[in-house]
Amino acid sequence: MSQMVRSAARSVFASRGRFLLTGTAITLSVAFLVATLVLADSMRGRAASDIAEAFAGTDAVVQGVSLGEPGGGPGDPARSVRQSLDPDITERVVAVDGVDRAASQWSGFAKLVVDGSTVGTGTASDVGRNWVADPALNPFRLASGRPPTEVGEIVIDRSLADDAGVAPGDVVQVLTATGMHDATITGIATFASADAAPLQRTVLLPDGAASAWLDMAAPTEVLVDVAEGADRTEVLGRLSALSDAEVVDGPDYIRTMQDAATSPLQFLNVFLLAFAVVAILIGVTIIFNTFALTVARRRRESGLLRAVGAERRQVLGGVVIEAAFVGTIATLAGLVCGVAGVGALRWVVGLTGVSLITGPTIVSPISIAIAATVGIGATILSAWIPARRAAATPPIEALRESAAEPRVVSRARTASGLVLAAAAIAGGAVAVVDSNPVWLMLAAAIVPALVLCGPAIVTASARWSSPAARRAAGVSGSIATGNLAASPRRSASTALALMLGTAMVTVFSIFASSLTSAVGTDVREGLRADLVVTSATPDFSTIDPTLAGRIAELPDVDSVTALSIAEGVVAGKAQAIGGIDPTALPTMYDLDPIAGDLADLSSGGVAVVGDDPARLGGTLEVEFERSTIEAPIVAVVERSTGGFEAPAYFVDRATLDGSVGRLLDAQVFVDLADGAVADAEEDVSALVRDTPGAFLATQEEHVASSGSEIAAFGNFIDGMLILASFIALLGVANTTALAINERSGEIGLLRAVGASRRELRRIVRLEAALLSFVAASIGIAVGAGFGGAMIDVAGGAEIPSVVVPWLRLAVTLIVAVAAGVVAAAWPAFRVSRVPVLELVSRDR
């Protein structure tokens, strides 16, 4: 055995060049795979464990009665809506027998303002909470400084402190529902051991300020610590007898919080999972290709060993040890590169700022295990399968110079691929016609269909493009297309990685453009105002309600109207309810009423967003936290005000204020007087600049930025896809370079009969370009078909129509082909280094 190990190691070192290429392929694949997994883990973060740790001391939680559950789609609030608790709820909870301690928990909107500008952008919410004095019940821990005691003192979480660059003792401002407040930072806190609560930026206020600043009459929740020795179930039972309140067990509360913190990432998880699958496929494909290329040489080697008397088992053992040796070293290198790559990516993209990753980079043992298994496993399997075949052939046959791969594409393989492809297309068609997502599973069979049909596709495209290639590039073109067709299986599997990559890009591009268009259409078609003031975050209103009035007083401002949004529950579902001025709005934003009259909102009516005019005349019950209204439906409008949190219902502003109390504005529409537009715009701009939480956009800018939340998210996914394509292209480069190794005899011959180095390089580039073109076109076509079907079926009301971004797809195709040519640079360099004498010296 040790003899075999030594001989394997010697064989590795003897053919360093070949193993360097193979090793590179394995390293790349493993690096990509581990990077994908680590990125996914880091994004999911430690939210779940942080929440469990933070609320470990909480036995039960008393909450307001639930009115409606979150809807979940874009346009629906992510949280459930609950009735307000009684102001004296905490005293009543403490009085319950068996309750040791109870702490009021107030939470609302609060945003940190430093030097006149708000801190933090991206997906996290800005939350204000009260500082819970009881350490056992407080989810936050003081990292430095002291707790806030007086109104005007605050503690902030550590990631806010880092983002803003502030420290205890600094004077800042806090924007809340009641306006701007001056505050002094007394301390920095952590959520359990994390820098911040999952997807939140938290400002912690003293008890007195919580009510006043957050504009709340009663606590949101009461955290309960059950006395030692008391029966928890009995205490829970007694608590649930409290009127106008609901009680949840500690573990259930933690679970709900965990779900809430991770559910916005579910969507991301699907993509990350898809990436991981593609990463594994690409990795295995590249490794398999690399080994397939060395089959001919392997056959001769094993033939020779067998001829001199090695047993089949010994030959196979040697190959497996050799592969394990290379696989292990390359996999270790890949793991290091992958983890380092995530670090580099975070640093380059500044992911922390976008707060998709709030915590540290998480390298879980499972990620390492998966990547290592795929790396080493695929390597050994890739070496073993051809070696077994080689060992099974008689030694003399193996020794004979023979073609590495049959040129003929198996008909049975192509036929079964075509059957699968037909089934996949039929599945997609049925899914679209039936609007049944189950059929999409069948449509996914297009991937194995591509794997099966790949060689036939490559052969066919090589044949079709041969005349064109010949016309464009002469005999080089013929040779390039010929090379592709000469080893259809290798070409096909090289192309497969790129195909999958571009298919993923396409699916996401279509998804993003359809969603952006769905979110942006209303704004594009409805907006009439010259200027729009928007909130700092899409999910909270942050505009000072006095701003609209101040803008209206400016000269050359024609009219101003504000939109406020509150959460309410309609028919058991949480919905966004808009408050508008029904007389002022229509000239600045056309909601497109199709039935009824918006003016009737002022008499207490409600407008429904929808396309069914028959709803006019009905009544609608809307439950808010503190009150319930029952209003007649006086209008049906086809448009809402756009964006993720677009209202599904509109009422008069006064009605909304009366139901939920004083609100910050979500948007302010401004119309300028005809003529002096530029000056007036400058005046408004100056006013808005001095108002934290408010941003000014022109009509064009606002239309363009509608749906930009998606665009920002899309950039991130694009980054990952670029990475995937990059790896796939490196695979193209690697396999092409290896193929040149294997074809060096023929290349020497070409040189001998008078092909110049430039011509050889051209052949290699043509080959790569052609393969990339075929792979990318098919990838885009498949991605468009599958993505289109998926959105059509699963898009529902949120994404009513499929929008194909033709320009973007064209760019993807061009980039893929260009990248293929760039990827061929290295093999092209290698090909020009093949000496003319290679041909002759080979047989000596």
């Binding site: 110079e401 073609a403 040129r407 002469g474 005999v475 013929s478 040779i479 297309t481 010929g482 090379n483 067709a485 000469a486 005899g745 023929e746 020497g748 011959l749 070409l750 040189r751 001998a752 009969v753 008078g754 092909a755 110049s756 180095r757 011509e759 003319v836 004498l837 041909l839 002759v840 080979r842 047989d843 000596r844």
Partner: protein
């Protein structure tokens, strides 16, 4: 530039003139030395060889394994660089050419036939034959292709790929490729080494008739006395030196010399 070597090229041992006039030479080596490696492990493959291969004649180069016969051919054909000395194809001094010019020379003035790996697997027989011409953007001149193809009896094989041809047919395609550009000289490296006797004789017959009918110059490296017997002259190489030259050889006379060389 015209080469004027110091003396008429005469083989030192036998005194028989291989070519009476250097201007008649299809290819020529002057004071050619080729060393591989350095220091202790230096191998001298060519040791001060001066020889001219006459134009319009069929010359065979013979010698035991490791005698330097292949190196001699590679250097004469510009496939390998001499350590010192000069190599000429026609009037062109190969040592003055860069890679690009050498490529052009191989493309336009030299034809090659190798033992194996002669054809580009992805091209048809016709494309393989025309390869040197298409590489330089030319088409085979009228009649030449037809003439070569009919001489080699390849008419019905032109659309086949190498994998679909027998060994003999493949070598015929290779010869057609070497001849079609009407090169100054054709170098053949063991062209019959991989063939059975009958196919081998056929191939040699074609080479012979290319010389006789079209005044083609051919230099062939071989170890087979029966193959060498088809040539006009045989050059014997031993230890990197020209040992002997024989005119109008026969298989028996060649075999006698080879035996004398200690084989």
């Amino acid at each position: 530039m015209s080469p004027h070597p110091d003396s008429t090229v005469v083989d030192q041992q036998s005194g028989s003139a291989l070519s009476s006039n250097a201007d008649d030479a299809a290819a020529m080596l002057v004071g050619a030395v080729k060393r591989y490696g350095s220091g202790q492990s230096t191998v001298v493959a060519l040791d001060d060889v001066t020889i001219a291969f006459p134009a319009g004649k069929f010359t065979a180069v013979m010698g035991p394994s490791g005698s330097g016969k292949s190196t001699m051919m590679h250097c004469a054909a510009g496939l390998d660089q001499l350590t010192t000395g000069r190599a000429f194809v026609g009037n062109t001094d190969l040592s003055t050419l860069d890679d690009r010019a050498l490529t052009m020379l191989r493309r336009e003035r030299i034809g090659f036939v190798f033992q194996t790996l002669n054809l580009v697997g992805t091209l048809t027989a016709e494309e393989n034959i025309c390869l040197p011409l298409t590489l330089s953007g030319r088409r085979p001149s009228d009649g030449v292709l037809d003439q070569v193809v009919s001489m080699l009896r390849l008419g019905d094989r032109m659309r086949h790929r190498p994998a679909e041809l027998s060994g003999g047919q493949q070598q015929r395609v290779a010869i057609a490729r070497a001849l079609v550009a009407r090169p100054h000289v054709v170098f053949a490296d063991e062209p019959t080494g991989n063939l059975d006797t009958r196919s081998g004789q056929e191939i040699l017959g074609y080479l012979r008739s290319a010389v006789d009918k079209h005044h083609q110059s051919i230099v062939m490296v071989t170890h087979d006395p029966n193959a060498a017997a088809w040539a006009d002259h045989v050059v014997f190489v031993v230890d990197g030196r020209v040992h002997d030259v024989m005119d109008r050889p026969s298989a028996d006379s060649v075999l006698d010399v080879m035996k004398g060389l200690g084989r």
